[in-house]
Symmetry: C3
Subunit: 206 residues, 3 copies
């Protein structure tokens, strides 16, 4: 995969994740600053934890300010668009989110391996990159993070990350492995959205 394309999709994922933060902020009646904070933590929270844990500092959005610019523009546009009655089809946001998620995981795995992490740690860093932001968003909004509860969301990330690292171990070239991982995450996630798949929960009665 050409790295320019990957970078473009990464920015696309940043924008989509920011939108999900803006929408939650709107439901909680936050002021413009609250909107920006919730959009930002959703979009860059996962990658920030990953970079801090790897010691890859300054973190990515300090090095490349385009991420923050994208978030600010997204906030502005979302507020304007959402106030107008014209609606998006229900599946547009989840599908965009799935694309963003898949790319975030692939990039997280890739970055961890660049920092000499073991394959297992690379998968974990992929999951953190993909899911960390949404978890912080929900904590700030005082909700038990959705991701921890009932959907095949993180599971898609884990499978994608595992496939990417296995592909690398079997001497596939880096770009093909990345593509295989991203597509796996994306397909599983889209399937889960379409057929409302979820894992059985572990319920414990006191």
């Amino acid at each position: 995969m050409e790295s320019t394309l990957l970078y473009f999709i990464d920015l696309f994922g940043t924008a989509v994740f920011a939108i999900s933060g803006v929408l939650l902020a709107g439901r909680l009646k936050m002021d413009p600053f609250g909107v920006i904070v919730l959009a930002s933590v959703t979009a860059i929270g996962g990658g920030t934890i990953r970079d801090m844990a790897l010691g890859a500092t300054p973190v990515f959005w300090v090095k490349d300010t385009l991420y923050i610019s994208i978030i600010l523009i997204t906030c502005l546009l979302t507020i304007i668009v959402v106030r107008r009655p014209k609606r998006l089809a229900w599946w547009v946001l989840p599908v965009c989110d799935a694309i963003g998620l898949a790319v975030f995981v692939g990039i997280g795995v890739d970055k961890a391996l660049q920092h000499q992490s073991s394959p297992m740690i690379a998968v974990i860093m992929g999951v953190i990159t993909g899911c960390g932001g949404g978890i912080i968003r929900d904590v700030l909004a005082r909700e038990i993070p959705m991701i921890l509860r009932s959907e095949i969301y993180a599971t898609a990330c884990i499978v994608g990350g595992v496939i990417q690292t296995i592909a690398l171990e079997t001497d596939m070239n880096k770009d093909s492995a990345l593509l295989a991982g991203i597509l796996s995450t994306l397909i599983i996630r889209l399937g889960a959205i379409k057929w409302h798949l979820s894992l059985p929960t572990f319920a414990l009665h006191r």
Copy 2:
């Protein structure tokens, strides 16, 4: 501005932010350790995230233990004073908080620029330094962070940070720019307290 004076005001801000943590802990009936934790995260949480994101580690309070000492002494004194009936005027705490906030933002911007951040990132680091601690405090206390909702709080930080970075870009000397930024944040915040100013919120109905 003489750097000794700045350091003194920074410690003053640390104490004031710690007090706001102690008071919240008191309302939640926490034990002494909970009081110290809530005071500490409020006072040094923002700067800690800033330093971690910049890779300026060990973080500032590990390098200079006076911050922690100030927090511990503040906890002790606040508990003693608050238990006595003698009351402070209502405006004392908000005004002290505004002074602390303004200095924290200025220091955050300054530190980010020292670490070769771009102006936009410097403003963000200023806001994180000023607002991060209060957000963590509210998360631990299981409240939706006040800062995200309805007051000109973060906005004051953003304006102050922008003025400070613009002043530096226009070749103002570092101390004057810092002072201009701090005073801007302070004046806006004091105005917001006096006239109960707030930004319109972004409300989204499902």
Copy 3:
């Protein structure tokens, strides 16, 4: 103390802390991924914050993947065992938790001192290592962290950490000091469990 033994007890503590995360996840009816996340943050959250604040990156579980493996195995075993009716005596988990806590604190103090922290910071890092994971676990589960409220939990960590650093200052050798600290934390915590000791809370009425 032989360092192999210490490492073994550290892994034991990791497993015990993971169990407490799994049990909370079960009460919240989380899916398998939620179980793993809650187990992981409980077991390695405190040490992760410590390493990030010290700048000891990549953090410990990135360098040594055995911690993550232990957590995954613990999740699996706990889910299987808990679903069976056979019950543990009430004191088994708290006592194991106390052992884990005591070792975590000792290791945290030790690691901070290795990174040239002052004694006060070392004690704080010990407390963060011991208590940080439980606090993050409770935040994710949307509870006000227990540790901040009503039990001699953090206090045991503080006393243990102080004894360890004082022992080192008085030229006791490193292993004896570590052992003295760990035993102090453990004894105080076991006493608090047995006699339901708690500190007076700081209650503030509006």
